[in-house]
């Protein structure tokens, strides 16, 4: 066949198409490449769950709200970061986010909940109401897909006017695992209050986990949470309990309060008659 005959435009176009098809015909996406891509996407998803929702300069209330969210779902397990990267399951915030900064407006928030929470305006030791949120949370299945049901959770922030320390009470009816190893317990009627401690490391978005981090994550002695400007090591102190099918988690970081004092505060809430 003479090449000159095939140089007519129509023929050339047919040949170009055939040549490209022939060249690419054997090319397939390998299983390894596909697996590597989805591993990268899982990492990206873990980042996206947090980073995409945060403004570049987020103030402390927003930060506390996000950290509270992280804690309530990750108490006693490997933490949001590790959960997302490891198993693909976990929880992400989503849906509504309502906020009040006056105790008088609390009924407006409570109308949105499907459960009745116990809470106080102030504690005997001086901690008093600062603000409250109701926000949504969705579970992730093993493939990292959001489950359809959005649970609403109440988060009430308390502040000690003298020391300036903050403490948060989260209340929800989410059907997830709850509570870790109790260091102290106290009985209030038929409710058992559990005091727990957990080491937390807050890290920037671009933080690279060290071998020690991975080891600590694996044995459950550390929870890593993404979202601070610098690396911060904190001790989380919590009291958790379940009362009338509703879960309570009262907590704060690096508090000057002892376990007994936190249990006293929790007992004040648990003693409320609805």
């Amino acid at each position: 066949m003479k090449r000159s005959k095939t140089l007519a435009d129509e023929s050339l176009e047919r040949e170009i198409k055939a040549a490209l098809q022939a060249e690419a015909a054997a090319v397939e996406v390998s299983a390894e490449a596909e697996a590597a891509l989805f591993a990268e996407l899982a990492k990206s998803r873990a980042d996206r769950s947090w980073a995409a929702k945060m403004p570049l300069s987020w103030n402390w209330p927003v930060r506390r709200f996000l950290l509270s969210f992280c804690l309530i779902f990750c108490l006693s397990c490997a933490g949001v970061f590790a959960t997302q990267v490891g198993s693909g399951g976990g929880w992400v915030s989503g849906g509504p986010n309502y906020e009040v900064n006056s105790f008088d407006k609390m009924p407006k928030l409570l109308d949105r909940l499907s459960f009745e929470p116990r809470y106080l305006q102030s504690f005997a030791n001086g901690y008093s109401f600062a603000e409250a949120h109701v926000f949504g949370a969705q579970g992730l299945d093993e493939q990292g897909r959001r489950m359809s049901h959005v649970y609403l959770e109440l988060s009430v922030a308390y502040c000690n006017p003298t020391s300036g320390e903050n403490l948060t009470l989260n209340v929800n009816n989410i059907p997830n695992g709850f509570g870790g190893q109790a260091l102290q317990t106290r009985q209030v009627g038929n409710v058992e209050l559990k005091y727990e401690e957990q080491a937390y490391k807050f890290v920037p978005f671009d933080y690279v986990l060290t071998d020690a981090d991975w080891a600590a994550l694996a044995d459950g002695s550390l929870v890593i949470s993404i979202g601070t400007d610098t690396v911060e090591n904190n001790l989380l102190q919590s009291v958790v309990w379940v009362q009338d099918g509703v879960k309570y988690h009262m907590f704060g970081f690096d508090l000057s309060l002892s376990g007994d004092e936190l249990l006293d505060m929790a007992a004040e809430i648990a003693a409320i008659e609805l």
Binding site: A26, L37, L41, G94
Partner: protein, 201 residues
């Protein structure tokens, strides 16, 4: 459930993903992965580079999809990401392939299945087609891109314009120039071949 997912168009899948349905992205990946991989291969000329471009493009797509304002434009938007990723990759690689190495690279660049044939076997099997493939590889990157998108992906001039971020006139111009360059290249090859045949004769 699976049938329902497959019945959805791209725009519906984008909307579902934006509402938090992660499976919708996987569905989009399954729809586009083959064409994307093969196009990346044609643009980069190398299987392993193509895999890198594919991965980078889909990660960008995943990270930015939530912000896509016009879900109905997903196809053009995705091809734009892929094209620009491939361009950036090729630019970074900055590898000008001498014509003598084209056939070696052709053999080395194919996946395992393709590598079972030698470059010589390819040449003797379909010489005409091999020559044309080599000529396409020699085209400047932007000309090669319009050739791949137009003839392999069967995209319209307007779609290519959207995917490459060019004007329709620019796409037409590149297509025209690429076709002319291919024709010239093939004519030269044919002339060389005839000359050699006459010398042997």
């Amino acid at each position: 459930m699976r049938l329902m997912e497959e019945a959805k168009n791209d725009a519906e899948l984008v909307l579902l993903f934006q509402q938090g349905q992660e499976w919708a992205f996987e569905e989009l990946f399954q729809r586009y992965k083959q064409a994307a991989m093969r196009s990346a291969f044609l643009l980069t000329g190398n299987y392993f580079d193509a895999e890198n471009v594919l991965q980078e493009a889909f990660i960008k797509c995943y990270q930015k999809l939530a912000g896509l304002r016009k879900p109905e434009c997903f196809k053009a938007w995705f091809w734009r990401i892929l094209t620009h990723t491939a361009w950036a990759y090729c630019k970074k690689r900055d590898r000008e392939t001498p014509i003598a190495a084209i056939f070696e690279e052709y053999s080395a660049g194919l996946p395992n299945e393709g590598r079972s044939k030698s470059a010589l076997e390819y040449l003797t099997e379909n010489e005409e087609q091999q020559i044309l493939q080599a000529a396409i590889k020699r085209l400047p990157l932007k000309q090669k891109t319009v050739i791949v998108l137009y003839y392999y992906n069967e995209m319209s001039v307007q779609e290519i314009a959207q995917a490459t971020g060019s004007l329709c006139g620019t796409v037409k111009s590149r297509l025209f120039t690429a076709r002319r360059n291919l024709a010239v290249f093939l004519q030269e090859r044919e002339a060389d071949k005839n000359e050699k045949e006459q010398n042997v004769g």
